[in-house]
């Protein structure tokens, strides 16, 4: 096992919310350990479920998720928490703790490492505080350190969300429709920040995304899903209109 290998192998991954009604129908997928991988597909096709199975915000019904020699699907308790520490996540609705300041939100990225007692006293190690300041500067929020999260705009919140995820020093970054609540210009900025942050740190990104053009622009690999199955897996250049028709159905929406 090469500890630097950050690829993920998914085998036979199935998720049923209601018995007999699978949302994910035996997914087999290799996600490369570098660059950005986009997952595209219509709403309700299980993209979010797939991503949330990786860090086990959702428990899969069957199958394996292999990451650095561990089957993430089988973990529980402390080993699961230790695996989650190595997986950052960015959310569509940002999911910041509204009443905490920007700094506190970024520092929550370290909660997997700092004891609950020290977190309660807000006594974070100086290293973490230095890093949080650096990250906030990098995402352009250096002047918002003590502002409460509920006073920020969508784009600013997502920057905090990214800083929080990077704060974990993750080995892989999941992003669940990180730009779907943002305007087109801000969406591009957020994708740029994510690509930059992850690129310089060699963190592979797996991103669910609705905007195919945005995906093509930033991603090295694209995975198309429809009806709980993977129907396309290749480079953005290989993705043709025929593939898009298969993924989304119909063609009137294509330009």
């Amino acid at each position: 096992m090469n500890p630097l290998d950050r690829s993920i192998q998914i085998r036979g991954l199935t998720k049923e919310y209601k018995k007999g009604v699978p949302v994910l129908k035996g997914i087999d997928l290799d996600i490369p350990g570098d660059g950005i991988t986009a997952i595209i597909g219509p709403s309700g096709t299980g993209k979010s479920t797939l991503i949330r199975c990786i860090n086990r915000l959702i428990d899969p019904t069957a199958g394996q998720i292999l990451f650095q020699g561990q089957d993430l699907a089988k973990l529980s308790g402390v080993p699961l928490r230790e695996a989650r520490r190595r997986i950052g996540m960015v959310f569509q609705e940002y999911n910041l703790v509204e009443r905490l300041t920007v700094m506190e939100n970024v520092l929550t990225g370290r909660l997997g490492y700092v004891s609950a007692f020290r977190a309660w006293l807000r006594k974070f190690p100086q290293d973490d505080i230095d890093e949080a300041f650096a990250l906030l500067d990098a995402v352009g929020l250096g002047n918002f350190v003590n502002q409460r999260a509920d006073g920020l705009s969508g784009g600013q919140r997502q920057r905090v969300g990214i800083a929080r995820a990077i704060m974990q020093r993750p080995e892989i970054l999941l992003a669940d429709e990180p730009t779907s609540s943002l305007d087109p210009k801000t969406s591009v900025e957020i994708m740029e920040i994510m690509a930059e942050m992850a690129g310089t740190r060699n963190i592979p990104i797996i991103v669910n995304i609705h905007n195919v053009a945005l995906a093509k622009r930033f991603c090295q690999r694209m995975i198309g899903m429809t009806g709980g199955k993977v129907v396309f897996n290749g480079s953005p250049a290989e993705l043709t209109d025929d593939h898009l028709k298969e993924i989304y159905g119909g063609e009137d929406w294509l330009e």
Partner: protein, 266 residues
């Protein structure tokens, strides 16, 4: 050439209409039945206005000297009972409230145990709690404080549990995803979300407890109620009036203080 069938629309189906009618009918029947059941004695009802006027006449002018003599010390005791009792109940109701929240503690038997504790606390009136604690600690402020504390667990715990259950799932997911242990997820995810409600609930309960502890004296559990009880037994309505006005003023001041604090905290 197409013939459109008339599309009828009615808000309720016939069954729903029947059920709604039945509901109103039963409500009215219940009210009529209750009035008959409490056996109002008409003679007493007719001269009620006279009695009331008489009552106020006996209350006025108030015996203001009584305030310094007995009421002031009793009032301080009442405020102490209410405040200490509330603080004591908060320490007990936080763990029970957390245990009752099904999203924070996803363990069915523990949720049910918490519900049982909360319901037991609430099903017993403060005065009954007071009588129980008087039997244990003897009459006085100690019994009153414990009565207030135990009655408040149910109230604070239930509302805290409900606030926790309404907490936004998103930040909780985000903190769970960082690999944070459950205690940290609670402290940094749930607590900031429910803190304003909790402060609100605690202040509101304190406000209620100030009023409740005013009657505790009637059963001998200390406080301003004892002064009122003495005055009533001696038919000194001018002194009762002093006690009632004092409670009224204290409740208004408490209300103003509570609103001011609540505004600042949210």
């Amino acid at each position: 050439m197409s013939t459109h069938a008339i599309r009828r629309w009615e808000r309720f189906t016939p069954e729903q209409r029947f059920l709604r009618f039945a509901f109103y009918f039963i409500s009215v029947a219940a009210i009529v039945f209750s009035i008959k059941n409490i056996e109002v004695i008409p003679e007493f009802l007719y001269d009620a206005p006279e009695q009331l006027a008489d009552f106020f006449q006996r209350m006025w002018p108030m015996d203001t000297a009584y305030y310094q003599k007995s009421v002031h010390a009793a009032l301080i005791e009442t405020l102490n009972i209410a405040t200490l009792g509330t603080l004591l109940s908060l320490t007990m109701s936080i763990p029970v409230g957390i245990m009752a929240a099904r999203n924070v503690v996803p363990i069915k038997p523990l949720n049910m145990l918490a519900q049982l504790i909360l319901v037991s606390s609430r099903s017993v009136n403060t005065l009954v709690w007071a009588l129980l604690f008087i039997a244990i600690f003897g009459p006085g402020a100690m019994a009153g404080t414990m009565a207030i504390a135990f009655r408040s667990i149910g109230f604070v715990g239930k509302l805290l549990g409900e606030a926790l259950e309404e907490a936004n799932r998103g930040p909780i997911d985000a903190l769970t995803a960082t690999g944070a242990p459950p205690t940290s997820v609670f402290l940094k995810g749930y607590w900031p979300q429910v803190m304003p409600s909790f402060v609100s609930i605690a202040l509101f309960r304190w406000d209620i407890n100030v009023r409740e502890s005013a009657v505790l004296g009637l059963v001998g559990a200390g406080g301003i109620g004892m002064a009122m009880d003495t005055a009533m037994n001696l038919f000194r309505w001018d002194q009762v009036a002093v006690v009632l006005s004092t409670i009224f003023v204290v409740v208004i001041i408490a209300e103003i203080a509570v609103s001011a604090i609540r505004r600042r905290i949210i």
